[in-house]
Symmetry: C2
Subunit: 331 residues, 2 copies
DNA sequence: ATGAAAGCGCTAACAC
DNA sequence: GTGTTAGCGCTTTCAT
């Protein structure tokens, strides 16, 4: 049936060990025999069995990736960064969607460990004590991408969400709106909280009293943005600047505003968060916080390779730089 | 170190075989011993090693997924459909990006087979004889998603691209433009060709002479759309309807048109293709061909499970229904 | 209903 | 530079 390393050894008149050596590029093989082996590999169409190799070597050269939703324009970009670096280091990726469902997340972590992944990249709203416990059931290294562990115990790659939100809010304030409206998602995930903290701090630093009416909680998607815009317009007298916690939300808000005859940015300014490809796919183009999604994924994967190689890393919680990209949704 | 099935057997005073049976839900175990085994599994924190299991059973419960680019809004939706059904059938997914690079594609197929995937979902511009040869190096079942094999030899899930393009074009013609402009990607991938064929047929059926000036080749992305719009406007006297081969391209065209003071749909009508989430994230909202991406992925995966179970399938080349979604970019 | 034992295909000492 | 030989942790006949 399928040809094994044993068949190759027999046909080439060498031992399995020698075949294994040439397959794995071990230099301790005489060029002549290497060639001989290579030839019979070619002739027999031998293909190494990675599962057997994994069992014997205890390395599968695959890493697990737990992601909230691969169809999200945000996370799929992260995933691309992860896979590119994984490929560069000869790893494959096992990808699973969690939908940010805690039980599913916990189950998936276990599942990845069963599959003997060499490492794990985790993305989610945030990490709880239970997650950490689950990670600890194995000695396999884990890295968080665009995900916060409040205790900083797990290696991670993020941006400074609080500072980024602070800066975005300040931009709006400096443009003339003392207390912008903040629209974000419900729930108090760490990332979420940091953004809100940054927003609040900026308002406070501008000597404004916080007004909870101007803090709107909804979902982070387009439709919610449209709805939020409607709600805002119906407030009648409302601040003329809006900070949305995601680009998609911002697009929904812009279009919702426009549908009600509000001009962006002349009547109301809007800034988003992430700088997904959507940001340039609207009119007016979106001013937003640049979060380097691809790089976060890539750096997280790179970090993971270091742990998998047992290299020492200086800083296991890396903060990537962000910036504010001014486009046409603000003045 | 790690606890194995052998440890559980010893601690529970049963054989490995019995532990294996309870782990795999084999009914041939007395309830009492099952409970005893379950307890010691719990106590020892035993976690089955899927690699060892894979080697022994020759089933890895993982399927390979080769995808052009997971960060694409189109393909990531397909991937989600694939993963959901995979999860439903207890499979995991190994995901790799090919960038539609043939050598990479061929290498990835081989890589997936090395990893002993139980099945393979392939997405790409199209299948060549070499791809088929590569698939044939293994007996592992393969299914194509949103990908055409001209010979129909490989199981696949698609829509009728030609008919869909024909209908979209006809809509434009019936709205008053005898020979719309067609904007699509360069190259003659099967999917691409079918769309173009459908377009041409619709024009011919409307008793129009084909005008190659009105068939524009570019990339399928937003920026190309903006550029195409510029080119079109500069034509001066041009048809007042445009059929774009993807939604993203259509968005670029719409905005490019608007940037030149052209009103959509009153001055020029635009229809897209795919009905990605982008279609509702523009003003005017986009009239487009609905391609059920998620379903294509889901059905392809479902189809694959049938082959993996050696079930007989009646039609291995499934064509899912499409439709035209009329929104506001057409009259 | 349960156990014994032979692999699955490969790597990794260790010996020569 | 090459071969021998234990396993890796599990499933799967085949007995009993």
């Amino acid at each position: 049936m399928t040809v094994t390393i044993y068949d190759v050894a027999r046909e080439a008149n060498v031992s399995m060990a020698t075949v294994s050596r040439v397959v794995n590029g071990n230099p301790n093989v005489k060029p002549a025999t290497r060639k001989k082996v290579l030839n019979t590999i070619e002739r027999l169409g031998y293909r190494p069995n990675a599962v057997a190799r994994g069992l014997a070597s205890k390395r599968t050269t695959t890493v697990g990736v737990i992601i909230p939703d691969i169809s999200s324009i945000f996370f799929s970009e992260l995933a691309r960064g992860i896979d590119d670096i994984a490929t560069m280091y000869k790893y494959n990726i096992i990808l699973s969607n969690s939908d940010q469902n805690k039980e599913k997340e916990l189950r998936l972590i276990n599942n990845m460990f069963e599959k003997q992944v060499d490492g794990l990249i985790y993305m989610g709203a945030g990490i709880t004590e239970e997650h950490v416990q689950q990670f600890k059931t194995s000695s396999v290294p884990v890295a968080l991408a665009a995900t916060i562990d409040p205790t900083d115990a797990i290696p991670s790659v993020n941006i400074d969400y609080e500072k980024a939100a602070y800066e975005a809010t300040t931009l709006l304030i400096e443009n003339g709106t003392n207390h912008p409206i903040y629209v974000s998602e419900e729930g108090d995930s760490p990332v979420n909280s940091k953004k809100l903290d940054g927003f609040k701090q900026a308002v406070v630093d501008a000597n404004q009293e916080l007004n909870e009416d101007y803090i709107i909680h909804t979902k982070l998607n387009y439709k919610s943005g449209e709805e939020a815009a409607k709600k805002i317009v119906e407030m009648g007298n409302y601040p003329k600047a809006i900070f949305a916690a995601s680009d998609e939300l911002a697009l929904g808000i812009i279009h919702g505003l426009q549908d009600h005859g509000v001009d962006v940015p002349n009547d109301v300014e809007v800034v988003g968060f992430d700088n997904t490809r959507l940001a340039t796919m609207v009119r007016p183009t979106l001013t937003t916080v640049v979060q380097p999604m691809y790089d976060i994924g890539a750096v997280a994967m790179r970090l993971l390779t270091k742990f998998m190689n047992k290299e020492t890393v200086d800083d296991q919680n890396v903060i990537l730089p962000h910036q504010i990209m001014r486009r046409n949704s603000t003045k």
